[in-house]
């Protein structure tokens, strides 16, 4: 058996059924023995392969796998790997490499992929000896999916892929430095339980870590038992159903008024599986200023990294929640609940962008409640409108590029989600800037017969950059106007049915039409370029310094 066959065997044994990739010279020996039992989705750009693998993993909870050739192929993966790294998504990347005899000689399509991907992966390998390959692959598959999830890359030289391997080569992972089981945290958990019982204005903050621990129901159990209001980060949306009486909404730069104010007023913050990104905390030093902070994370390095924790707890958030629920007494907190419910919900007049997201929410309400809808976004204003106004009821129903904020994520992530969840409705909400960043994947969805529904909010500009220029750069608009194509014609050219909706009053009918289309479809919805995402906490300000409305002339 040659190295390339060993690769496919290892992947099959790990339960891998689908991979996203793009062939090329150095990886051809691997493609040559691609088994029929693994579905290969041919993307149109390697970045899309990494992002589709990421979308597949987020939607299904399973390992996402992408494959590319050496040099340009591998480097094109980079943005997608960084995206998976920042949002802790289990992705395995296989890259072809020039033969070991050529390594270091600047051969055709040779780049130092090991060096280039070191800082955007959880771990990476260059396999220089064939008999290391089975062990390395098993380690890579294991690392990506355990502890704090993340992308792992295996760089596979052409001659290693072609080398004959004798049977019985050692394939057991050897990871003496991989510390999954930490020291006992029960003393810290007891301290946390006592603090929770004593707090009068406690708040739960849920993040992306919870879905990987499958701990959503445990969050609700604790919240209901101790009557704790719950706020979420962008990555935590869907952990707690949006219509739950204890749920306050998303916190952060574009967070809900109630959620942001609750953070600033609470006397105890129990943060679960969050990493306190700057977009979440606002001014770090002024974040939750009155709160005793309990921070639970599976990754010890997250504790104290951005915000100092009074009670840091390293551990699986599900295990910690189970202990906390058994230790914390039942309690009602009518005053605190009345207080957080008294905060205003949202600012007044809504633009076309928000109206479109709300219309989508109405049109997909049943699907969303059943958990049969996966909503994918790109990055920018439309992303924040979705986060603010679309109600999520289940984990893994929002796929969005949180940490990296990578425009172009949406379409390939939707590909991954639809491939992984063929029975669910996958809707991509995107903007005209983002969609053009990976537009070529429209061909992939047609070729792979993926019935993805695209809602394009087109403001003919880079809306979020424009918003900042208007609000914080004295209206000095630079490099934000995008002359787009005729979108319905573009879609038609790819073989995708498309509609345009120019009157917001027609949105719901247009969305019904889009959603009832059998195959893929695109609804082009023009949006005035001046629309803003509000509320907004300016960079470097505390969370309660929210701008609720803005007109020209309001610049500071």
């Amino acid at each position: 058996m040659i190295g390339a066959e060993v690769l496919w065997n290892c992947l099959r044994q790990a339960g891998v059924e689908v991979i996203f990739g793009y062939p090329g010279g150095a990886v051809m020996p691997v493609y040559d023995v691609l088994p029929a039992s693994i579905r290969h989705v041919l993307v149109r750009h390697e970045q899309a392969a990494a992002m589709a693998a990421d979308g597949y993993a987020r939607a299904t909870g399973r390992l996402g796998v992408c494959i590319a050739t050496s040099g340009p192929g591998a480097l094109n993966l980079l943005c997608g790997l960084a995206n998976a790294f920042l949002d802790s998504v289990p992705v395995l990347a296989i890259t072809g490499q020039v033969s070991t005899t050529l390594l270091g000689r600047d051969a055709f399509q040779e780049t130092d992929v090991f060096g280039a991907t070191m800082s955007v992966t959880k771990h990476n390998y260059l396999v220089s000896r064939a008999h290391d390959l089975p062990r390395v692959l098993n380690e890579a598959i294991y690392l990506a999916q355990t502890g704090r999830k993340g992308p792992v890359l295996v760089d596979l030289p052409r001659d290693v892929a072609q080398a004959e391997l004798p049977p019985g080569v050692d394939s057991a992972p050897r990871l003496p430095g991989y510390k999954l089981q930490r020291e006992d945290n029960s003393a810290q958990v007891h301290r946390a339980a006592e603090a929770l019982a004593a707090a009068s204005r406690p708040l739960l903050l849920v993040g992306g870590g919870i879905k990987w621990a499958r701990a959503g129901p445990l969050v609700l159990e604790l919240a209901e038992k101790a009557e704790l209001p719950v706020a979420s980060t962008l990555m935590g949306l869907g952990t707690v159903p949006a219509d739950h009486p204890l749920y306050l909404g998303m916190i952060g730069m574009h967070g809900a008024v109630a959620a942001n104010r609750a953070v600033q007023e609470c006397d105890l913050l129990l943060a679960l599986g969050v990493r306190f990104s700057d977009r979440t905390t606002g001014k770090r030093e002024a974040f939750a200023p009155r709160a005793l902070l309990i921070h639970v994370d599976v990754d010890a390095a997250e504790l104290g990294k951005n915000v100092p924790a009074d009670i840091p707890i390293v551990g699986d958030v599900g295990c910690v929640l189970r202990s906390l629920s058994s230790l914390v007494p039942e309690r009602r907190r009518p005053e605190w609940l009345a207080r957080v419910c008294s905060f205003p919900v949202a600012p007044g007049r809504q633009g076309v962008g928000v109206r479109a997201v709300r219309a989508l929410a109405r049109a997909t309400a049943d699907l969303a409640r059943r958990g049969d809808l996966i909503l994918v976004t790109d990055v920018g204003q439309h992303q924040m409108w979705v986060a603010q106004h679309y109600p999520f009821y289940h984990p893994r129903t929002l796929l969005t590029s949180g940490g990296l904020g990578a425009m172009g994520y949406g379409l390939p992530a939707a590909v991954g989600a639809q491939v992984g969840c063929p029975d669910k409705t996958v809707v991509l909400v995107t903007g005209d800037g983002s969609l053009q960043m990976n537009l070529q994947e429209l061909a992939t969805i047609v070729q792979e017969k993926l019935p993805i529904k695209i809602l394009l909010l087109d403001n003919r500009s880079l809306g979020m950059v424009r918003q900042w220029q208007e609000m914080f750069f004295q209206g000095n608009l630079k490099a934000v106007f995008l002359r787009g194509p005729d979108w319905t014609t573009i879609a038609a050219a790819y073989g995708i049915k498309a509609w345009r909706c120019t009157d917001p009053a027609d949105l719901e009918d247009a969305l019904d039409q889009l959603l009832s289309e059998h195959g893929p479809g695109l609804l082009h919805c023009p949006v005035p370029a001046e629309e803003k995402v509000l509320p907004m906490v300016p960079v470097g300000e505390p969370l309660d310094r929210m701008i609720l409305s803005w007109r020209r002339g309001d610049e500071p």
Partner: protein, 175 residues
Amino acid sequence: MRRIFSVLVENQPGVLARVAGLFARRRFNIESLAVGATQDPSFSCMTIVVDGDEGVLQQVQKHLDRLINVVRVSVLEESGAICRELALVRVNAAGTQRTSIIQVVNVFKGKIVDVAPGSLVVEITGDRDKISALLDLLGEFGIQELVRTGEIAIARGRQVVNEGGICIGQGAVRT
């Protein structure tokens, strides 16, 4: 604040790059880094001296520990450890100064390891206070070139830093 980390790592290609990359990316301030094989050739020991406040030093420890190839990170207190560094110093030595230099070096139990017209190479081993004291004195003669290894350290007494899950030399991993 200065802290000495003794870091047991797998002896694999790229480990040094991972550690160096971590320090560069997170803006940790590295004072010195010395690395060499242990009694088990599949593991190396890095002695890393870091400068920073308590919060930074804790982050250094956690982020080092998070690297997959890092087996164990131990903090060595200077009072509870033996710290050594080796320095080679090429110092100006005009005829009349030679004897004075040799006398100073002898006091510090250093060695003259090379003699050339107009200069001497001095080898000195010790903790950093001893080395900096000698360098101050040699500075009066004029230092032409200075090379240092960076500190290495080992715990005093019976405390074995790199034991526990790993039994070095017996091929066993993880308990």
